[in-house]
């Protein structure tokens, strides 16, 4: 650790996000995942001679949305360039991308703790076909190509080397995925490749500026892999520096099984892609009014929403963050308030009991059929002292889609709180009588046994007594006995 402190790590990311458009970037083929190989193709995305590209406006709009969401400067004039290189998965022998004049530049993403990550640029491009290497055919010297992926719109996001360690990288990625999900422009699945992340990492002595070399790490298919790869590479590079070794530009590949990065290409000379403006496509000239129209259609973004939840509903930072981690949860929360307005209690029920019930808050949120009004009824009953906290769990565990509302459940099962003090007192007295040993120990000073008594009472009342009330009466009675 001592050595590590003498170095600074610089990490920049290069992200490729598949946009959630109906059709591909330059043709009308369906943009979808998991279809039969080569079923979503046409002359354009197969690169057949004579075919021509046409820009997908929806992709352009989604890219503009992301640019606006990250405070980037949208270039009112930009264009597509051709990146020329030969590779079997590249049907035209060039990729249509934006090089000289990207769609947007100079964005910034603010992470917690005033940490800012600057975006160098955001641009649109097309995905390549997918090479498929079936083992049997590889032996025979064959590989297969699936052109369904060819031409899917990609948003490339390039950050400045503003990240310093693995947790910052992971936080940044979580944040950026959240933004994209809010905007409904990418589903952000690293494991499916709908979001791809390459790391650019370098390490320098603290006093130095950013080194003029970097190591690029590819093949990172999960946040876990990214975290491990950053740590591995950071350690490897520092060790090399400690040994006084010379560090050079390299491209490496993360091997998930071995947990190491391996060299792919070294000392790569700048490959000459012979970029030039694609003569098949007119330049993109945007109007302020057009951008404004897109801006007006944008949803409230997570950071802003979180701030608003804190101000408007008086939530603490953690609750506000948890409730805004995706649009559906945030909407669910606010929808629920419309039925019964107690933000604090609603937040507590959603984050506590509801999340626990959901087990995992995925994008399939609400699949189990729980509606905001369900939460609102629980909150109302709690707020009005009609049920105890214990009953909330019961309500969730008894939940069956479309059968009973929480209020009906409470009524039918007689779960409502026991408000009659004499009734509770009776139960408590019984509890004390039945547990003389514990009473002795309690009175001898073992205060922890209070919870034991409360538990016993709760058991008896089936959670229908208010914990605080039980505690108060217990204390009184035990004191009297003493």
């Amino acid at each position: 650790m001592k050595t590590k402190n003498r170095y600074t790590t610089y990490i920049g990311l290069e992200l490729h996000a598949q946009l959630l458009t109906k059709s591909k970037m330059f043709c009308g083929c369906k943009n979808s995942f998991g279809e039969k190989p080569n079923s979503q193709t046409c002359p354009v995305c197969l690169g057949l001679p004579g075919s021509l590209p046409v820009v997908n406006r929806e992709a352009l709009n989604q890219a503009i949305k992301f640019g606006l969401a990250t405070d980037s400067n949208i270039n009112m004039n930009s264009w597509f360039d051709r990146k020329n290189y030969f590779y079997p998965d590249l049907p035209k022998g060039y990729q249509i991308t934006q090089f000289a004049k990207p769609l947007a530049q100079g964005g910034v993403i603010e992470l917690s703790g005033n940490n800012k990550v600057h975006l160098q640029e955001i641009h649109l491009e097309e995905d390549s076909a997918r090479s498929v290497h079936y083992e049997d055919y590889v032996k025979e010297g064959y590989s297969y190509l699936d052109f369904n992926r060819s031409g899917i719109p990609l948003l490339e996001i390039v950050t400045e080397p503003d990240l310093c360690n693995s947790s910052e990288v992971v936080n940044f990625l979580k944040h950026i995925i959240k933004i994209m999900q809010y905007l409904k422009i990418c589903n952000g699945k690293l494991q499916d490749g709908s979001l791809r992340c390459d790391l650019n990492i370098s390490v320098g002595k603290n006093s130095d500026s950013v080194p003029d070399w970097k190591v690029e790490v590819k093949n990172l298919n999960s946040l876990k892999a990214i975290k491990k790869a950053v740590k591995f590479e950071e350690k490897r590079l520092i060790e090399m520096l400690e040994k006084g070794m010379y560090l050079e530009q390299q491209t490496r590949k993360w091997d998930e099984k071995k947990g190491v990065t391996e060299l792919l290409r070294s000392k790569e000379k700048d490959y000459d892609y012979r970029y030039f403006p694609d003569p098949d496509l007119p330049q993109i000239n945007l109007e302020e009014t057009y951008i404004k129209e897109i801006e007006d259609l944008m949803p409230e973004l997570p950071a802003k929403k979180q701030k608003r939840f804190m101000e408007e509903y008086g939530l603490d930072t953690d609750s506000a963050e948890l409730l805004t981690r995706n649009q559906k949860i945030a909407d669910f929360f606010e929808e629920s308030l419309k039925f019964y307005n107690n933000p604090d209690l609603t937040a507590r029920i959603i984050i506590g009991d509801f999340f626990a019930f959901m087990n995992e808050v995925s994008e399939d949120f609400c699949k189990k059929g729980i509606k905001p009004v369900f939460i609102a009824e629980i909150v109302e009953m709690l707020d009005k002292n009609m049920i105890s906290n214990k009953i909330v769990k019961k309500i969730f565990s008894h939940f069956q889609e479309k059968i009973l509302s929480p209020k009906e459940m409470v009524k039918n099962n007689n779960w409502n709180i026991i408000n009659d003090n004499s009734q509770i007192k009776k139960i408590i007295e019984n509890t004390i009588i039945n547990n003389p040993e514990e009473v002795k120990r309690y009175q001898a000073g073992n205060q922890n046994l209070m919870n034991f008594f409360i538990g016993k009472v709760m058991q008896k009342t089936q959670g229908r007594a208010k914990g605080e009330k039980v505690k108060r009466i217990l204390k009184e009675l035990l004191k009297e006995m003493n």
């Binding site: 057949l48 046409v54 020329n84 003569p279």
Partner: protein
């Protein structure tokens, strides 16, 4: 018989499509045996189409507005029928699974595609000698080239009456062979006919063009092929400019600009003589003919070859052995597959241009060549637009020479490139241009007269060309 009369004759049952087409096929076969202008002939398909037209008429149904008109199509325009070879070995067996927009339009209007015509490989060349398959002979003198790259299309219209052919014009590839073969050739405004399905040579210069024997025939066809197509983003949306055929005779007060200096120094005397005679005749008929300065003439060839080579080096990258190529199985790596297929699949001239273009686009040279050429292109285009605020057409010869002999220039690329001298500037600026037969020069070889017009105002140059076509009969050229 002018081709635009064919649909009406069919409709009035004065002509049988089957009889007409089978006769035409015989005529084409005979001519093709002598001049070799086709790469493929669709006799069965053409007869089937003709039968369908006859049946429609017999049933009293409407037929399309190109019904029965025979078409020859340059082999770089994609069709689902037959092969689309681009005159190249690398595409010798290529069957396109889709058809170009122009083909869709011709078929929709019941036009009859008879065959595909020979061309310089991937449209690079000015003599059709660079076709991988065979040479095409000039029907006026079989020891001479028909011009290129659309040499097959020009020779076909020259040798066979009552037919139309389509070519592509990147630097003069429709107009130069049309002039060499003594026919009318139109290169429309860039963006007025969809390029969808035209196998790209130079995307920003390519334009599909039309050849016929008469102005009126070409105008008639142009009106049907000029159509918006959302699949071609480089087209004008919406398409402006009036229809041309109906308006051919409407106007008669054209103002003509002549850049005398451009051709006086570099042109065969017979061509200058013919051009001047026409100018004099126009003047005596009361047309306003004025000299205009020559703009950037020393740069036409450099701008054209810079842009075209750069773009073609990228456009032809897709022929890499994966989907297109020679099925070279004995390779050990991707690289070897690419190299082998491209080395063996492309001819010399294509390779030369790919190499020039690759060099032009390489890192460090962007602003020296391609960007500079584009800057000049924009500048020239603006200056040319200015001319059209005062004039209806620029008049100049189509080519500096008449048809040359086989082998005369094929080993001398720079001489060959010079053939485009008068034609390339209309591609650089995107303006429409038409060549019309203007008599014959030495050895009785045809001469072409060129009219360049304002963008999307083909109607004006058609109108003037139509007048000149008539006047020429009064001149002893």
């Amino acid at each position: 018989m002018d081709v635009y009369k064919i649909p009406l004759l069919l409709k009035n049952k004065k002509l049988s499509a089957q009889k007409f087409i089978s006769d035409k096929l015989e005529q084409i076969k005979r001519a093709d045996n002598r001049y070799h202008f086709t790469l493929s002939l669709f006799a069965e398909y053409a007869l089937k189409k003709a039968k369908a037209i006859d049946n429609k008429i017999a049933r009293g149904e409407e037929v399309g507005r190109l019904a029965g008109i025979p078409f020859g199509i340059k082999d770089n325009i994609a069709m689902k029928i037959g092969k689309t070879t681009c005159g190249s070995k690398i595409l010798q067996d290529y069957k396109s699974p889709y058809a170009a927009k122009v083909i869709e339009d011709i078929e929709k209007e019941d036009g009859i595609i008879i065959g595909k015509t020979n061309m310089d490989e991937f449209a690079m060349g000015s003599s059709t000698e660079y076709s991988y398959f065979h040479k095409t002979l000039n029907p006026w003198d079989t020891s001479r080239v028909p011009g290129g790259s659309s040499g097959g299309s020009a020779a076909m219209v020259s040798a066979v009456d009552e037919c139309i052919s389509l070519g592509s014009d990147t630097g003069g590839s429709v107009r130069q062979p049309a002039a060499f073969c003594g026919v009318v050739g139109l290169k429309p405004t860039y963006g007025s006919i969809s390029r969808y399905g035209l196998i790209a040579f130079s995307s920003s210069l390519d334009q599909i063009g039309i050849m016929g024997r008469k102005i009126k025939e070409v105008a008639y066809i142009f009106d049907y092929l000029k159509k918006e197509d959302k699949r071609d983003a480089s087209m004008a949306h919406p398409l402006s400019g009036p229809d041309t055929f109906e308006k051919l005779e409407c106007r008669d007060n054209f103002k003509i600009a002549v850049p005398y200096k451009i051709f006086e120094n570099k042109t065969e005397p017979a061509i200058i003589k013919s051009t001047n005679k026409i100018i004099e005749k126009l003047k005596t008929k009361g047309y306003k003919v004025e000299e205009v300065p020559v703009l950037y003439d020393q740069y036409y060839i450099p701008i054209y070859y810079t842009i075209a080579s750069a773009e073609v080096s990228s456009n032809l990258s897709r022929f890499d052995g994966v989907k297109f190529g020679l099925n070279e199985k004995s390779v050990d790596s991707f690289r070897e597959m690419f190299v082998k297929n491209r080395s063996e699949g492309f001819g010399q001239e294509v390779k030369r241009r790919i190499m020039i273009g690759t060099f032009i686009l390489s890192a460090g040279y962007e602003d020296k060549f391609y960007q500079k050429a584009q800057k000049l292109q924009r500048d020239l285009s603006r200056r040319v637009d200015e001319i059209f605020t005062s004039y209806d057409a620029i008049l100049l010869p189509t080519t500096p020479t008449t048809a040359f002999k086989f082998g005369e220039k094929s080993g001398k690329p720079l001489d060959m490139y010079h053939s485009d001298f008068f034609t390339s500037f209309a591609n650089i600026t995107g303006n429409p241009a038409i060549t019309i037969p203007a008599g014959n020069g030495e050895n009785n070889l045809p001469i072409g007269l060129q009219l360049v017009g304002d963008k999307f105002r083909e109607d004006k140059i058609f109108g003037l060309a139509y007048r000149i076509e008539k006047l020429i009969k009064e001149i002893n050229l």
